[in-house]
């Protein structure tokens, strides 16, 4: 049984009994769709983001560093990518994080695996996919994100590009003693609550606008609209979707509900997945911040390999599914 069934009942009740929309009308259907999706997303966001925040409080980057030093390379790539799942990408911390890892001897490729997985496997995006598409697609998104992070990181590591990291990075010497700020379990819960509240405040306008736009497409756009122009037959659809996704950074919350409706209208899953990954992983603010520690050439190589990885994943899923 669908665990979200009670939410559908609630949405039906709000739409048809309280707001008095006519059952079976297009407008009524769109409103019902809007209420159902937004309630579901906010419920999931609150529960899952809270849980992830608590888990995360046990994985501060200083601990990550310890786990990643002296690892066999590919193992390091995998651990780094996995830790990246629960870590959000914070533009504030990207530079100290990068320097801290590299300085303590974590291989450059492993550091990249972490830097790719953290923003790409975005917690809000994963939650929205879970709510709107179900566990299979959410899992697909997470697994392919981790796979890209591991592979791209591994390739970058093989290329021996250490000389393209800004020179000052190698000169910094950290204090061996790591600072340990003690936290009680109540502290962790409190922080997780604060974080969740903050995040929901930040994303809720996007979610509402996105779900509303999605509901309109759902109700009014003709069936198979996209199957013709952006279907599997069109080889340019995946790269184009990736390009469109780049400037939409941080709007995963608003984008995914629209994507859901576009899939209903015939957009292939792989193309949609590539699009969502480019929304979360290829972002200008992140690139600008990373420029502080990477020479332009390395930044370009990083963006190029990541883009190719995402496009490849798009084709792969279009081909498999």
């Amino acid at each position: 049984m669908d665990i979200f069934y009670p939410i559908q009942i609630l949405a039906d009740w709000i739409t048809y009994s309280i707001l008095h929309f006519v059952k079976g009308s297009i407008l009524g259907g769109a409103v019902d769709f809007f209420v159902n999706d937004s309630v579901k997303i906010f419920l999931l966001l609150s529960v899952i983001i809270f849980a992830v925040s608590v888990i995360r409080s046990y994985l501060p980057p200083e601990k990550t560093k310890k786990w990643l030093t002296n690892r066999f390379e590919i193992v390091g790539n995998i651990i780094a990518a996995l830790i990246g799942i629960v870590t959000p990408f914070c533009s504030c911390s990207a530079v100290p994080l990068f320097i801290g890892l590299v300085e303590s001897g974590v291989p450059l490729g492993v550091t990249f695996s972490y830097l790719i997985s953290a923003p790409m496997v975005n917690e809000v995006a994963a939650v929205m996919l879970l709510g709107l598409f179900g566990p299979m697609i959410a899992l697909l998104y997470i697994v392919s994100g981790v796979a890209i992070a591991v592979i791209v990181g591994f390739i970058l590591g093989r290329l021996k590009l250490e000389y393209l990291v800004e020179d000052y990075v190698w000169k910094i010497k950290a204090n061996c003693q790591t600072v340990d700020i003690k936290k009680t379990f109540t502290d962790r819960l409190r922080e997780a609550y604060q974080y969740t509240l903050d995040l929901i405040k930040k994303v809720f306008p996007y979610v509402l606008v996105g779900v509303a736009a999605g509901a309109l497409v759902h109700g009014y756009a003709p069936e198979n609209l996209l199957a013709k122009i952006a279907g599997k037959g069109n080889l340019f659809a995946v790269p184009l979707a990736v390009l469109i996704g780049v400037p939409l950074y941080s709007n995963a919350a608003g984008t995914i509900p629209i994507v859901k409706s576009l899939i209903e209208k015939g957009l292939p899953i792989g193309t949609a997945l590539a699009f969502m990954m480019s929304v979360t992983a290829l972002s200008f603010p992140e690139m600008i911040i990373l420029r502080k520690v990477l020479k332009p050439k390395l930044l370009a190589i990083y963006i190029a390999i990541l883009t190719i990885g995402i496009i490849f994943t798009g084709y792969l899923f279009n081909w498999v599914l």
């Binding site: 501060p60 504030c92 911390s93 994080l97 801290g100 300085e103 910094i172 950290a174 204090n175 600072v179």
Partner: protein
């Protein structure tokens, strides 16, 4: 007594600096709050996130919280 905010120059770090300045005024602290965007200092402390709040040379908070009361408490406890 000395309060420092170390950051990487991002908006969140700036915000913490402003919040700490407010608190410092409220508590009538004489010393200026110091703001640095030198990432090297953060790394040297063995920390890998930013911003960092330092009171009397001791890092008391890593990362940002919108909870002003908590920041105030941390500063008071470590003065």
């Amino acid at each position: 007594m000395k309060i420092q905010v170390l950051g990487s120059g991002c908006p969140t770090c700036r915000k913490l600096y402003e919040v700490v300045q407010e608190i410092s005024k409220e508590l009538n602290l004489k010393d200026e709050v110091e703001y640095s965007t030198d990432v090297t200092k953060i790394i040297e402390l063995g920390i890998m996130s930013s911003p960092v709040l330092i009171v009397n040379g001791k890092p008391v908070m890593v990362g940002f919280t919108p909870d002003t009361e908590k920041i105030k408490k941390l500063i008071k406890e470590n003065l």
